[in-house]
Point group: C2
Chain length 227, copies 2
DNA sequence: TTAACATTCAAACGTTCGTTTGAATCTGGA
DNA sequence: TCCAGATTCAAACGAACGTTTGAATGTTAA
């Protein structure tokens, strides 16, 4: 038995996950048939049910594989920044960058299929199926709580519900930007060139989000009076 | 023949469109079967193919019915504002409000099923199927061009590509906010109460978007140097 | 070599899908 | 009243779906 033939464990599992990632991104969950998927993965039709149990379980596995490490990285980055700052408060923009950077770094990473995943992820926040949305929510929960307290510390003067909404807006901007990589031309009116240079995009996105987060508080009394 | 029995033209057509709007929102396009849809509309299974030709044509009709008037309203509102201002430049926030308001007013309108449509629309910008995305893009194109020149007039100092991206971000924030009406609790950690009071949401969203649009220009030279 | 286990395979299962068909029914003007 | 066109209806079509099955093959350790 030669060295070449030492088979990595779960080889088919990984091939299936890779194929699923790409096809789910291209066609969505329902339009991706097990027959097309297993063919692309070079596996037998029954392989998905053997290795994952069902198509739904495969979908869950696709998200767990990348989302867990990604959010762990976000939290670690935040820990690092806070340690580095000693007792001082973090700049809101630094917190934003810790969150946004994780997504954009994955886009840049061309050798792992992260770009497919990020686009897929960005679209799945608004998936019709509730159990899929709640899976995503569950996988995000720890990081979300961690970043929320970080923002609270950085912006002690901001009312709680206001912060919740602004985080919601920021999260949405990121999600849409990553998912809708081709709708820029809707506005530009032409094909994007190198518009998805991740580094430039990160700078633009961070500037936009930081300004939105720090926007002057609207006078909610005005709104209530007008109503 | 009594007055009551005067049948409005295209009655079934309308019932089908209404049912489609609600079911597409609840389950997505593919998970909504013609059998469920026609049953909800109180029509025969063959009715969709008779009145619209195919399921895809029905999807298109669902969007055309509401999107065309909505964008026409946006443009009319912008015309009104510019006429009102005489020759003076419009405030960027007023332009934003003209765009955002059209969506939020439809959410509030409870008697027409606009709320379903808006959620459906918000998610469809990132639909996997390219021909659906390009349909939406085509329906938005006139309004998008109109608002782009309005922003250019209001912000003459902003570089063109920068404006394109910031409009992209704003559009995305709006789309996500409308589509993901239940992910706020992802951040809040609890059920939203009256969180979707449209008027309060409009104030919050406009403040966020205006600040983001007017964010200080990042030094793109820095980014290029670092790369 | 053998036995136990893990994986792959071709084939079939029952179900559901969008669409089509041709007859039945309704509608409005001659 | 009668007829042409519009609409509705029950029934069926072939295709594609996710999943299951049981045999075949590959792998590992005694």
């Amino acid at each position: 038995m030669s060295l070449r033939s030492i088979k990595p464990p779960h080889e088919t599992r990984t091939r299936i996950l890779d194929a699923a990632e790409e096809l789910f991104m291209q066609h969505g969950f329902e339009s991706t048939s097990m027959r097309l998927l297993t063919a692309k993965a070079g596996a037998n039709l029954a392989a998905v049910n053997y290795h994952f149990g069902s198509k739904d379980a495969l979908i869950e596995a696709v998200f767990r594989r990348r989302l867990d490490p990604m959010n762990a990285g976000r939290i670690a980055e935040l820990d690092r920044l806070e340690k580095e700052a000693g007792g001082r408060a973090l700049a809101p923009e630094a917190i934003i960058r810790a969150f946004v950077g994780a997504s954009l770094r994955m886009i840049e990473d061309s050798k792992c299929g992260g770009r497919n995943f990020i686009r897929l992820l960005g679209r799945t926040y608004t998936d019709p199926q509730k159990h899929i949305r709640s899976l995503i929510g569950q996988l995000y929960a720890p990081a979300m709580a961690r970043f929320k307290t970080a923002f609270e510390r950085a912006l002690p003067q901001m009312p709680g519900d206001e912060l919740v909404w602004r985080m919601h807006f920021m999260f949405g901007t990121l999600a849409y930007t990553l998912a809708a990589t081709d709708t820029v031309q809707l506005i530009a009116g032409c094909k994007p060139e190198d518009r998805y240079d991740a580094r430039l995009l990160e700078a633009r996105l961070t500037a936009f989000l930081a300004a939105g987060l720090l926007a002057p508080l609207h006078d909610s009394a005005d709104v209530k009076k007008a109503a």
